[in-house]
Amino acid sequence: MRSTVGQLRVEGGKLGVFVAATLLLVAVAGCRHWLEQDMARHMLIEFPLLLVVGAALAWATGGATRGLLARCNALGLSGFAFVTLTLAYWMIPAALDASVRQGGVGGAKWLTLLASGYVLPASFGLATLPVQALMVGNVAWMSAAVGLLYQQADRQLCLYYLADAQVVAGQGLVAAAVIIGLAWCLWAVRRADRGHRQPHHGPEPARSELLVRARISGLPGATIE
């Protein structure tokens, strides 16, 4: 009885998150013109919002695609590669301009960012700490480098954004890089600390997640139910 109630709560929670994510997506779509009018809003608000919506949808739709994705995402490598390439691509000035100018390219940007958000939580669950460090470090370094380039360019890089907006976006990207790096470091330290204090409370989350995925994908040696 208790497990049924718990199950219902989880399902209710998922439904709530699904509805909230859908509403957020509709809101972002409604504000698209405003968001994309300014380079900083475009890159520092719209991009993260789409990632968050994707991640929320992944959680809400849970088991539907998790097993399928896990089969080709050992250690979260494929997911991380997709996310890194997607973010890197949309930081290219010509690509960013095209996403504003051409509806089809704009749609592709939305789809790839949503998909990135979708695969991100599962990839983090599958990845070991060093792989996560590689991914986070890579994205942070890339954002900081692009941010510095935006700030130091002697001309307007994007046709649809003013040089002033480019500098602000560059500063924001550097700030985002620092925040992402620090946030992950704090999280990793806390996780390591918790694992150190409670060594006998079962496997750590990443390992547990990995083994469940391994069971789903039918890997040899995966015996945990």
Binding site: R71, A74, L75, S78, A81, L85, A163, S217, L219
Partner: protein, 214 residues
């Protein structure tokens, strides 16, 4: 497989294939977007595309600072075999003024071409750039009407079409002015846009015009 170890077996193979696919897609997308890795900005891309395949601009009727109405390209007989064109708005305090100074210095060099090549400062703000504003701009930069036309289009829709065909993007700067991708555009009498040069490359633009107009 334990956490932390390298993946192996079917999962590793599928992951490897997925990584290969993602990598190929990423490289293809970047390759296409950046013209084979050569152009990372839209302006560089625009110039490369124009150089590779010159677009033909639609005809555009203009009114000049001297009150003349003319169609610089797309109609025979054309007023010149080639035009060096800068897109401006006359109240611009920076780029368009620099463009005007550059054209002012270039005027004497056009005498060698016997009128085959002319300069054109084309306003993309025809509402504010009336005849008086155009005349003031022309006088400020010492424009000789026989070599240098300062003009605005008679219809905004035709202007928008030409801007779109040429890949010129004009955006409001939030201070009552505009920001736009500048440069000297080499446009032939038949409307072909054959080159775009920086404002500091006026001589190169003139050489390009001579090459195409000869």
């Amino acid at each position: 497989m334990s956490a932390g170890s390298l993946p192996h077996g079917p999962s590793a193979r599928r992951t490897g294939l997925a990584l290969l696919g993602i990598g190929c897609l990423g490289i293809a997308a970047v390759w296409i977007t950046t013209w084979g890795g050569r152009c990372w900005t839209s302006e560089a891309l625009r110039r490369a595309r124009i150089e590779a395949d010159p677009p033909v601009l639609s005809p555009l009727d203009l009114r000049s600072s001297t009150g003349q109405v003319l169609r610089p390209w797309g109609k025979a007989p054309a007023p010149a075999r080639a035009f060096l064109v800068t897109f401006v708005y006359t109240s611009c305090p920076t780029l368009c003024s620099t463009a005007g100074d550059g054209f002012g210095r270039l005027q004497p060099d056009l005498d060698a071409d016997g009128g085959a090549i002319r300069l054109l400062s084309l306003s993309f703000d025809p509402r504010r750039d009336d005849s008086l504003a155009l005349r003031t701009y022309a006088e400020r930069h010492g424009a000789d009407p026989s070599r240098w036309l300062v003009a605005a289009p008679t219809t905004e829709s035709a202007l928008e079409k030409v801007l779109d065909e040429a890949g010129v993007v004009v955006i409001a700067d939030g201070r009552g002015g505009y920001a736009h991708n500048g440069g000297i555009h080499v446009i032939l009498a038949d409307g072909r846009l054959v080159g775009v040069f920086d404002l500091t490359q006026a001589q190169e633009a003139l050489e390009c015009a001579r090459r195409w107009a000869s």
